[in-house]
């Protein structure tokens, strides 16, 4: 057992209102620089939709993630040989057009335009070339199903849905969608790291945050192609790859990442998971339908004395183990099993989990009325307007069993609370529901509390990072004095 700790996340999709506050918080802190205008380390997508960059889930186009070849894991986009062959032109690299051409407006013209018969206008100006540009698309161009025939109807997750189900999804006045906020998953088996020819990308041993060493990055671009979630971006100005850093400077000082902190719907949870690194490769090589369970099995019980001993022997600090015991992520993912990894079939073992959304699921009954009591208590879920298959494609590698389990449990929790507080559901029905959803009243109460009444401290259980013990920093305490940011004393300037 090789116990390591990983800062992990849960996004509760039922609570996401799609306000994009997270994206703005991130943008203002990290990506308002030249070359990063188009980047959204955090972005919020509408599902069904094609996302950002367009159609990122289409791995036939982008070749991201891993595949199993003769029983062993291999990157889809890269091998040792291919790293040489594709050095000069990467065949799977998305280009700026797959994201969008960043622009601003020529506001100055509003003030400086000579007097004339027309109102002066502020023309859109490219933030790359500085020339006028025709806007063709932008971030969240398909927000709230805008342009469905172009975007939503090409969602890869619609695969396997019947024609009837598709029509149902896009029926006029009965449209249904939910939001899908995304950041870097800080995977256990990151494809970006494994693809980087320079070895610039790395996973931090102590907390599992995946970073790009900016001095070592040489713009070979393999990481961008390899990441199946397209969460590594290319800074066209500095010629370096950049990605979500999980606000590690904030985490190291005990603050939640900016997108977490600013989340209006309080959908985000952060905490430590202990996992067994020795079994990682084996788990990531399992057949598609076993992957969710395989990843769960990697996550270790932080109360198990054996795990604690192995963690301590591996240098995991006591305070981190204690933090893991209070981790909300552990509850959602491992204990309650209601949070699921996105597209685990990419086999990167993402460590950001999603509680699948309930709201649209509940709203598909005759004439739009939800039938509250029937003998088949989970009928609504089976006959969902967002078909289970769609959610299964997103969160279950094409299999809906895990999603069904999570939704049933969530529904049981709601009915349990209705029996408790509203009283329009009798206790016996609620209890039967809990039983059928593999849930106890105590568990339902705990889920309810952490979902609805959670405080800041309960949502973000940030482990002490113990940078004070980092030898590297102790050796040269003055090294970063008056540094402009993290790691650079001089502002990074594009090479010649």
């Amino acid at each position: 057992m090789n116990v390591r700790s990983q800062v992990s996340m849960v996004f509760h999709l039922d609570k996401c209102i799609g306000c994009h506050t997270c994206s703005i918080a991130c943008k203002n802190i990290w990506t308002d620089r030249k070359g990063t205008e188009y980047m959204w380390w955090n972005n919020v997508e509408t599902k069904p939709g094609t996302g950002f960059p367009t159609a990122w889930e289409d791995q036939e186009k982008y070749n991201g993630g891993w595949k199993v070849e003769d029983g062993t894991l291999a990157l889809r986009s890269q091998s040792r040989t291919k790293s040489v062959v594709n050095m000069f032109h990467h065949p799977n690299l998305p280009t700026l057009d797959d994201y969008y051409h960043p622009w601003t407006y020529d506001y100055k013209n509003l003030f400086d335009a000579p007097e004339g018969s027309d109102q002066p206008i502020a023309r859109p100006i490219s933030m790359v070339t500085g020339e006028p540009v025709a806007i063709e698309s932008g971030p969240n161009w398909d927000d709230d199903l805008g342009g469905s025939p172009v975007y939503a109807e090409h969602d890869r997750n619609l695969e396997g849905l019947s024609e009837e189900q598709r029509q149902q999804l896009f029926a006029v006045e009965r449209l249904v969608f939910f939001y899908f906020p995304r950041i870097c998953n800080h995977c256990l088996n990151p494809a970006c790291v494994a693809a980087c020819p320079s070895g610039a990308l790395y996973k931090r041993g102590e907390d599992g945050i995946v970073l790009v060493d900016q001095t070592r990055c040489r713009a070979w671009r393999a990481c961008i192609a390899a990441c199946p979630y397209k969460k590594v971006y290319f800074n066209w100005s500095t010629g370096k790859s950049e990605k979500c850093i999980l606000c590690f400077p904030r985490l190291e000082t005990g603050q939640a990442p900016a997108c977490f902190h600013s989340c209006v719907g309080r959908i985000r949870y952060l905490g430590v998971l202990l996992y067994d690194a020795d079994r990682l490769e084996e788990a990531a090589s399992r057949p598609d339908d076993e992957l969710v369970e395989a990843q769960r099995s990697l996550i270790l019980d932080p109360f198990d004395p054996q795990v604690i001993a192995a963690a301590a022997a591996n240098g995991v600090h006591d305070s981190v183990i204690e933090s893991a015991q209070r981790s909300p992520v552990y509850q959602f993912v491992k204990v309650w099993k209601v949070a699921l990894p996105p597209h685990i079939e990419y086999r990167t073992m993402p460590m950001l989990f999603y509680v699948p959304p309930m709201a649209p699921v509940m709203a598909n009954r005759g004439q739009g009325v939800v039938d509250s009591v029937s003998d088949d208590l989970f009928h609504d879920i089976e006959a969902a307007r967002v078909p289970l298959q769609f959610l299964g494609n997103l969160f279950g590698a094409g299999h809906d069993a895990k999603v069904r389990y999570a939704l049933r449990k969530q529904k049981a929790v709601r009915w349990h609370r209705r029996a408790e507080t509203v009283g329009d559901v009798d206790r016996a029905t609620a209890d039967r529901m809990l039983r059928e959803a593999d849930c106890t009243a105590e568990e339902a109460e705990a889920i309810y509390r952490l979902t609805s009444l959670c405080t800041f401290e309960e949502r973000f259980v940030i482990p002490p990072m113990h940078r004070e013990e980092a030898l590297q920093m102790l050796e040269e305490p003055m090294e970063h004095k008056q540094a402009a940011g993290f790691g650079f004393i001089k502002a990074p300037r594009r090479g010649v």
Binding site: T95, V193, P197, G199, A219, W220, R221, G495
Partner: protein
């Protein structure tokens, strides 16, 4: 007459050493002082299609041509032995010329892309244009030499290789060089200038070609347990 000779001495006896010294000191200094700038500065992200038709032929062309020069420099006798049979000589010459032409075409396509695509022009600076001009002179003279003065693979082994070795042994022997046509001279002088220009240009990316990827483990984990510990 003496003035011409002294110019040759300057170009073929002094310049190589200056270029090499500048290359070594400059590259090391840049790596120590401004490591961040060691990047290929790829622009594929801004423009994809023309990138393929320029960058791929250019790089494969120049890699083969440079390897050819290196082999002829390292084992000139074997090259001469190979060329003893006319058929083998033709094969070698034709394929060398083909890769040379490929290089020129690729370079032309890449430069054309830099000129015509606004986004890419935006990330091209003066030093890049200087570099492209030098590479243009270098590759075009190379192809012209191959066409106008045939059997270069043989006469390179007989003249240029001994000259280069004389440089290595710090006893520059300029007799062969002095007798060269001006086209060949230009080709050689530009080569030395390019070597010296490397630390001041994007050419430094050649020095950080990611060979370790061919044997390193896929996943990289860095611990803060000790300075610079990478496991």
């Amino acid at each position: 007459m003496t003035s011409v000779l002294s110019l040759d001495a300057l170009l073929f006896g002094v310049l190589p050493y200056v270029a090499l010294a500048v290359f070594l000191l400059g590259s090391i200094a840049r790596y120590r002082g401004w490591r961040y700038s060691y990047s290929s500065l790829s622009s594929q992200f801004l423009e994809n299609r023309q990138h393929f038709w320029g960058l791929v032929p250019f790089h494969y062309g120049i890699l083969v041509v440079l390897t050819g020069h290196l082999v002829a420099f390292l084992i000139p006798r074997s090259v001469l032995a190979w060329n003893a049979q006319p058929l083998r000589l033709y094969v070698l010459e034709v394929s060398a010329l083909a890769f040379g032409v490929l290089t020129v075409i690729g370079l032309a396509a890449a430069v054309w892309r830099r000129i015509t695509v606004g986004r890419v022009r935006r990330v091209t600076n003066t030093r890049d244009w200087v570099l492209f001009a030098m590479l243009g002179v270098q590759t075009v003279t190379g192809v012209l030499v191959a066409m106008l003065y045939p059997w270069g693979s043989s006469w390179f082994a007989a003249t240029a290789a001994p000259y280069l070795w004389s440089l290595v042994f710090l006893r520059p022997d300029l007799t062969a060089m002095a007798a060269m046509p001006w086209l060949v001279k230009t080709h050689i002088v530009t080569a030395f200038v390019l070597v010296g220009y490397t630390p001041f240009s994007r050419l430094v990316h050649v020095l950080v070609a990611p060979l370790p990827y061919l044997w390193r483990k896929p996943q990289v984990v860095r611990w803060y347990r000790g300075p610079g510990v990478v496991s």
